[in-house]
Amino acid sequence: MRIRFERVTQRYDGQPLFTGLDLEIPSGKFFTLLGPSGCGKTTLLRMLAGFVVPDAGRVWFGDRDVTQLPVHKRGVGMVFQDYALFPDRSALDNVMYGLAPRGIAPAEARKRALAMLERVGLAAFADRSPATLSGGQRQRVAMARALVIEPELLLLDEPLAALDVKLRVELRAMVRELQLESGITTVFVTHDQEEALALSDIVAVMDRGRVVQTGAPSEIYARPVNGYAADFLGSANLIPAGEGRIKIVRREEIVIGPRTTSAGSGPRGDELEGTIEGVEFRGSITGYRVRTAHGLVHVDTWSVQHGRAHERGEEVMLRIPADARVVEGK
C-alpha cells in the first residue's frame, strides 16, 4: 500500500512543525524516518497511526483519504518503543488481542497467534507474562502482536532503542527478515544512523520539520545534498571550501600519514596539516581526531592496514581526495 502525505501542516506547542510537507512512501518498502529528537519524525509516524491529526493537509493510504479516520479503524500494526505489552495478559493473549475485534473466532485466533509466536521464536514462551520476559523477548511479542493482524502498514517507533547493542543487531536482522517475508509497507522511526543504513530500502533524513533528502541509503551516503544529510547519515567531515561552500569528506576517505618536515614545503592543495588530539581503537577500525586549521577532522583507518599507529600529539598530514563532493552552505 502506497502512503502519501499531502501538504501536511502541523503546529506543535504553538510553533509550526510542518509547513506544507509532502512525502511519499512506496508500497512494500522499508522506509525509515531518520533525524534527531524534535525533528518531527515521531509526529509523522503518529499521524499514520491516527493518534495525531494534521492541522491542514491530507494523509493517503493508497487512494483512500484517512486523514480523519479514527485509530481503531485504520488497521495499522504498530510497535512501540516501550513495547506497550498488556502486563496482565500472557504473551499469547497479547498476540491474540487484535484478532477478536476482527471477528476471528477464539480457536482460530489462538492458532494464528501461536504460529506468529513460532515465527518470532517464542512459541515456548506463549504462557509467560510480559514481566517474566527479557527486553528482547518482549520486543518480539510486540512484533508478533502487530504482525498477526496482517496489517497493510507496519509502524515501528524506535523499537530497538531500549535494547543493548548486541541484542539490537540481532533483532534488527529479524525485523528486516519478517518485513521481507511479508512484504508489508513499513515505516521505521529512528535517530540511529547505523540502524537506518542497515535496514532501509529508503531513508528520509529529517531536520526541524523538513525532509532534507530521500533516497536509498547508499545513494544518500554517496551523494548527500548538503552537510546536514552527510553528517546525519555516515558522520562526514565538513571542510570549508571557500565562498560559503563546504566539502563533504567521509572519514574513511582521508589518508593519514606522517608530516614530511622538509623545509619550505607547505601543504599542497589536497593536503591538510594537523595534530592528533585523540586515538580510538575500535577493533577493525582505528579512529583519529585531528586538529587542523579548519577545525577538528575525524579519520577512520583499517587497523590492520597501516603498520604503525599514530600517537596522540603526533603531527600528521591528511590527504583529502580531490573529487570530494562540494555543496552549498551547511
Binding site: A49, G50, F51, V53, D55, P70, V71, H72, K73, R74, G75, V76, G77, M78, F80, Q81, D82, A84, L85, F86, P87, D88, Y97, G98, P101, R102, R145, I149
Partner: protein, 553 residues
C-alpha cells in the same frame, strides 16, 4: 491542536467530560452560588451587604467566626506537633512499639467523630469515669465543655491527617540527597536543616492546611463539646433547625464565609504549595536509625500513649454499652444487655439507611471518580484542569454548609430533591469524591499511554480499550477507594443531619441525638453497632480480599 479540536476527535470521552461537568455544575456549583446569592438578600427582599454588616457587628455572630479561627489554628498547631513528631520518629528511627502506628489510620477510620465526642464526655465529663475516680481525693478536672476539652478531643480526631501526610512527605525524600550532602562534608544537623527541611516544607504546609480545613468544617465534636464556644459550622446548623425560625439570610452568610475560608485554603494549596513540591527521583527513603536508652523510652511512650488515646473511645463505648444506667448516671462494674438489645432493635432501620445510602453514593462515586481521574490524567487540557479543581472543592466545604446549600437549592424549581433519600446520597457522593478521585489518579499515572494506544491501534475503540486494558490495571486501587468511600460514608454526620427527614435517620444521626438528650449508654450501644458495621467490611476487604485500605483518605 486546541483543546476543543482534540475533544472533537474523541467523541466518547468528550461525552464523559461533558457529563462530569454537568454533574458538578448542577449539584455543587449551582447550590454554592445559590447560597452565595441568598446571602445578599435581606428580609425585605432587597439586595445588598446588609446581612454581612449585621454579621460583623453582632457580637454573637462575630464571636462564632473568631471561635472557628481559634479552634482551627489551635488544633492545627497541636495536630502538627503530635502528628509531625510521630511521623519523624517512625520515618527516621526504630524503637520498641514503633510498629503500632500502622494501626492509627485504621483506628481513625473505624471510630466516627461523633463516637469520639461521646466517649470523651464519658471519660472526662462532669460525672465521667475520671472524675468519679478522683472523687475520694477531692480533686476534679476542669469542665470538658471548654476550650481545652474541645481542642484536646479535636486534636485526637485530626492529628492522623497530619501524621499520614508528613509520613508520605518524609518517605519521599531520596536518601541519596542527604548522602550527597554529607559526602560534601556537611555535618548531619546542617544536612537535616539545610537539605531535608526545605524538601519536606511543602508537605508540612500541605498537612497543616488539610488539618485546618478539616477542623473548621467539622461538626460532630464542636456540636457536642462546644455549646459555649459555637463555631460557624455549628451555629449555621442551629440557625437552620431553630424552631423559632432562624434567620435564613444569616445561615447563608455563615455558609458563604465558611466556603470562602475553604476556597482560600484550596487557593493557597494550588498557588503556593503545589508549585513548590519538588519532583524527586523516586529513590530509596533514608533507612531508620535504631535508637535506645531514654530516647527510645520517650519515643515508645509517645507512640503507646497516642495509640491508647486514639483507641480509648472504642473501648469506652464498648464497655458503656453494657453498663447499667439510670438516666444519665452510669454504674460501671455492672452488666446489662438492655442497651444493646434496645439498640439492636431500634437500629435496624437507621443502619439499613446508612448502608443503602452509602452503597448508592459509593457506586455512583466510584464510576464518577474513575472517569474524572482518567480525564485529568490522560486527556490533559485546561478543561480537565478545571475539572480537577472543581472536583476538589467539596474537600474545603463544611458538611453543614453543603447540606444547607443543597436543601435551599433543591426545595423548589425544576428539580426538587429536598426530603428525598436522593439528596442524602448526593451529599455522601459529593463529600467523598475528592478522595476517590485522588485514589484513582495515582495508579492511572502509572499506566503508560502507549498501553492504551496499543489497544486502540489493534482495532479496539477508545472507550472499549479503557475497559479492556486500563481498568483491569487500576482495579485494585479502585476497589480500595470504593471500600474507603463506603465506610467513611457510614460515619458521615454533618451534611446529613441537615438533610435527613422522618424515617430516613442514619446511625451517626441517631448517636448524635442520643448524646444530645443525655442517653449516653444507649449512644454507646449504637456506636458499637456502627463501629462493627464499619470494621467488618473493612476487615473482610483487607484480610480476605487483600485490598489495600490502610492509606487514610
Amino acid at each position: 491542536m486546541s483543546a476543543v479540536a482534540r475533544l472533537k476527535r474523541d467523541p466518547a470521552w468528550t461525552t464523559v467530560l461533558a457529563g462530569s461537568f454537568a454533574v458538578l455544575l448542577v449539584f455543587l456549583v449551582w447550590p454554592l452560588l445559590t447560597t452565595f446569592a441568598h446571602s445578599f438578600r435581606g428580609k425585605d427582599g432587597g439586595f445588598g451587604l446588609g446581612g454581612y454588616a449585621v454579621f460583623f457587628t453582632d457580637r454573637a455572630y462575630r464571636q462564632s467566626l473568631w471561635n472557628t479561627l481559634i479552634l482551627g489554628g489551635a488544633v492545627t498547631v497541636t495536630s502538627m506537633l503530635i502528628g509531625g513528631a510521630l511521623a519523624i520518629l517512625v520515618a527516621r528511627c526504630r524503637f520498641p512499639f514503633s510498629g503500632w502506628v500502622a494501626a492509627l489510620p485504621l483506628v481513625t477510620l473505624v471510630i466516627p467523630d461523633v463516637v469520639v465526642a461521646a466517649a470523651w464526655t464519658l471519660i472526662l465529663g462532669q460525672q465521667g469515669i475520671l472524675n468519679t475516680w478522683l472523687q475520694p481525693t477531692g480533686w476534679q478536672i476542669g469542665s470538658l465543655y471548654s476550650w481545652w476539652g474541645l481542642i484536646f478531643v479535636m486534636t485526637l480526631n485530626s492529628y492522623v491527617y497530619a501524621f499520614v501526610m508528613m509520613l508520605v512527605g518524609l518517605k519521599a525524600v531520596d536518601r541519596n540527597l542527604e548522602e550527597a550532602a554529607m559526602s560534601l562534608g556537611q555535618p548531619l544537623h546542617t544536612v537535616l536543616t539545610g537539605v531535608t527541611l526545605p524538601l519536606i516544607l511543602p508537605s508540612i504546609f500541605g498537612a497543616a492546611l488539610v488539618v485546618f480545613t478539616h477542623v473548621i468544617g467539622s461538626f460532630g465534636i464542636p456540636a457536642i463539646l462546644g455549646p459555649r464556644m459555637p463555631v460557624l459550622a455549628v451555629k449555621a446548623y442551629n440557625e437552620f433547625v431553630s424552631e423559632l425560625g432562624g434567620n435564613p439570610q444569616m445561615q447563608t452568610i455563615m455558609a458563604s464565609i465558611l466556603v470562602m475560608l475553604g476556597v482560600a485554603m484550596l487557593a493557597v494549596q494550588k498557588l503556593f504549595i503545589e508549585r513548590r513540591q519538588y519532583q524527586m527521583e523516586s529513590g530509596r527513603a533514608p533507612t531508620p536509625i535504631a535508637i535506645r536508652g531514654p530516647a527510645a523510652t520517650v519515643a515508645a511512650a509517645l507512640v503507646v500513649i497516642v495509640v491508647i488515646l486514639s483507641l480509648a473511645p472504642a473501648v469506652v463505648a464498648a464497655v458503656t454499652a453494657f453498663t447499667p444506667s439510670r438516666g444519665p448516671v452510669l454504674s460501671y462494674g455492672g452488666f446489662t444487655t438492655a442497651h444493646m438489645a434496645s439498640a439492636l432493635g431500634k437500629s435496624v432501620q437507621p443502619l439499613w439507611n446508612s448502608l443503602a445510602l452509602a452503597g448508592v453514593a459509593t457506586v455512583a462515586g466510584v464510576v464518577f471518580s474513575v472517569a474524572v481521574a482518567y480525564l485529568v490524567v490522560k486527556r490533559r487540557s485546561w478543561l480537565t484542569g478545571a475539572l480537577d479543581v472543581l472536583v476538589m472543592l467539596p474537600l474545603t466545604i463544611a458538611g453543614t454548609v453543603l447540606g444547607i446549600a443543597l436543601v435551599n437549592t433543591f426545595n423548589t424549581g425544576w428539580l426538587v430533591l429536598t426530603g428525598t433519600w436522593i439528596i442524602m446520597a448526593l451529599a455522601y457522593f459529593l463529600r467523598r469524591i475528592p478522595n476517590s478521585v485522588r485514589a484513582a489518579v495515582g495508579p492511572l499515572h502509572n499506566v503508560r499511554d502507549s498501553i492504551e494506544e496499543a489497544s486502540v491501534s489493534l482495532g479496539v475503540p477508545p472507550l472499549a480499550s479503557f475497559f479492556k486494558v486500563v481498568l483491569p490495571l487500576i482495579g485494585p486501587a479502585v476497589a480500595a477507594a470504593a471500600v474507603l468511600m463506603w465506610v467513611t460514608s457510614l460515619s458521615e454526620l454533618s451534611a446529613t443531619i441537615v438533610l435527613y427527614y422522618g424515617g430516613m435517620s442514619t446511625m451517626p444521626i441517631e448517636i448524635f441525638q442520643q448524646v444530645d438528650s443525655g442517653r449516653l449508654a444507649l449512644a454507646s450501644a449504637y456506636s458499637v453497632v456502627l463501629m462493627l458495621a464499619i470494621f467488618v467490611p473493612l476487615a473482610i476487604a483487607r484480610w480476605v480480599f487483600r485490598v489495600k485500605v490502610d492509606a487514610v483518605q
